[in-house]
């Protein structure tokens, strides 16, 4: 029981980290900070515009796989695998 509580706590912490990054790349870089970032260039892209139309999507993909891999480790560590 105690074991399962810490497992859930660690999961919540991971979700919090992931959703913070999720928020920063899309709502942060893509929307709220888009103007200052647009002064920086990434080839032909303005950086803020790039995050809004490309970068945030790549980050989302990375986040889901990273979360999945971390959770597989946690499942093993706390012995709650299927």
């Amino acid at each position: 029981m105690e074991n399962e509580k810490t497992y859930w706590g660690e999961n919540l912490r991971l979700i919090f980290i992931c959703l913070t990054i999720w928020f920063i790349v899309s709502y942060g870089f893509g929307l709220l900070l888009v103007e200052p970032l647009n002064t920086i260039r990434l080839g032909g892209y303005k950086l803020g515009f790039w995050f809004a139309q490309q970068g945030s999507i790549y980050t989302f993909v990375g986040l889901i796989f990273w979360y999945g891999a971390k959770m597989n480790q946690l499942d093993k560590k706390y012995n709650v695998e299927e």
Partner: protein
Amino acid sequence: MDELKLYTYIAVFGTFAIYFGIAWWARAGSTSDFYVAGGDITPMQNGMAIGADWMSAASFISMAGLIAFLGYGGSVFLMGWTGGYVLLAMLLAPYLRKHGKFTVPEFIFDRYYSKTARVVAVICLIIASLTYIIGQMKGVGVAFSRFLEVDYDHGLYIGMFVVWVYAVLGGMKGITYTQIAQYCVLIFAYTIPAVFISLQLTGNPIPQLGLGSTLADGSGVYLLDKLDMVVTDLGFKEYTTDNMGGTLNMFAYTLSLMIGTAGLPHVIMRFFTVPSVKAARASAGYALVFIALLYTVAPAVGAMARFNLLNTIEPAAGQHLEYSARPQWFKDWEKTGLLKFEDKNGDGKIQYVADKKTNEMVKVDRDIMVLANPAIANLPNWVIALVAAGGLAAALSTAAGLLLAISSAISHDIMKGILLPDLSEKSELKAGRIVMTLAILLSGYLGLNPPGFAAGTVALAFGLAASSIFPALMMGIFSKKMSGKAAVAGMCSGIGITMLYVFQHKGIMFIPGTSFLGDMKPNWFFGISPNAFGAVGALVNFAVAFVVLRFGEEAPAHIQALVENMRIPKGAGEAHAH
């Protein structure tokens, strides 16, 4: 028959033959096959199926066109419709899979121990899904009438028949395998023209990189800089910074689309088809990879289509195209009424500018951009034929997923769950098939006689899912104490306030003239448009639920134990009915 038509017939009917073959091979023999494809789909297969399930005629046909005309503002669709998968992967899918039931309302019933909650969930699901299907059916009709010159009605009948064969015969199992094939068709159809166009314009075959490259005309100017310059010269807003009603509106819009995506039942259902919690997490990742393939190409397609269109009409500043010398695709789309020219100054040349008084391109429908794109760029006929097959694959695959969500809500949740608990598995399977047939007939009828509010309904579908289903599911998992009463109060007030805001702007049930409080400024709530209001509805849902919980009873002990069990992957069996 000309070459283009011949290729189009081969592409369209060739893909249909493949779908039929798969349907026959993957017939459903049990309710488990019919609702969750037997529960043994691999994460990669499920990811592809989710991709096709999710990417509808709207993603395939409309989105790049929207981005072409909204520029940076179109980013809300790109981020909103992909970011929802992060929420699904972390907040919903693994736990719903662990709980292991067939449908979303069934989960709501178990977790909130209330038939009222189940019925409310079924109603939300049916409204959201039906409004979505109308759009798919219209997409099928338009694709047939434009590419095969079959009239709209007959195109729709053919589409209904194709879906009927594989959805009714195979249920979730047949739908899953046809969706995998449909994903392949639609992604090829989308990316091949984009690769050609990117190569033509920038010399870079990868559209995602081409969009950030210099033009291939030797000028050394970046494509996006040139586009910014051209559009501002014509008086339009700058492409890369035009922010669609302000930052707050874009913020709320993106959030609504994200949580709406995570709350759409036909997508959530697909996570019940994999064998384990681990596989549910992985399928969300694969799904987003397959979706991102299209979604990162779309902004390139949009920008390049806008560029090509402007360049055709005004090859160099001040040098306008003669109307009599207009290209063939221009004439083709004029016939459909989606492209209209009016020679206001009588000089026989086309002036396309932002100022409404002097603009002579009086209509440029956004939906034609993807379909006309290959022709504008002079691509070979087989590419155009492929686009027709891709558009149909996108519309049919989404329609099938939605039909299954509707029929399972009726046969499993209403009939078996509430009215006739003694229904045998065999009868339930038969009932599922009959309900699905009726749902196809109904959606076909709605496609033939689209209600006046069809255009506004996609917003309503997302608003409903965002403001009702997502918060209820999330609180069910993350708040052990959340009670049935509080959840129902939350769902009703979330939906209620969203519908009020939409109806106040657009009329009750979208009937013109019934918009109330008529003298209020549009988007009066902090400049948030009705389409973006689902996020506010979701916040209201959460707030009301927690207030009611605070002053009422907590969920009983056995429900809290159920939630604890849901949070641990151990012991997840196959999805089952009881």
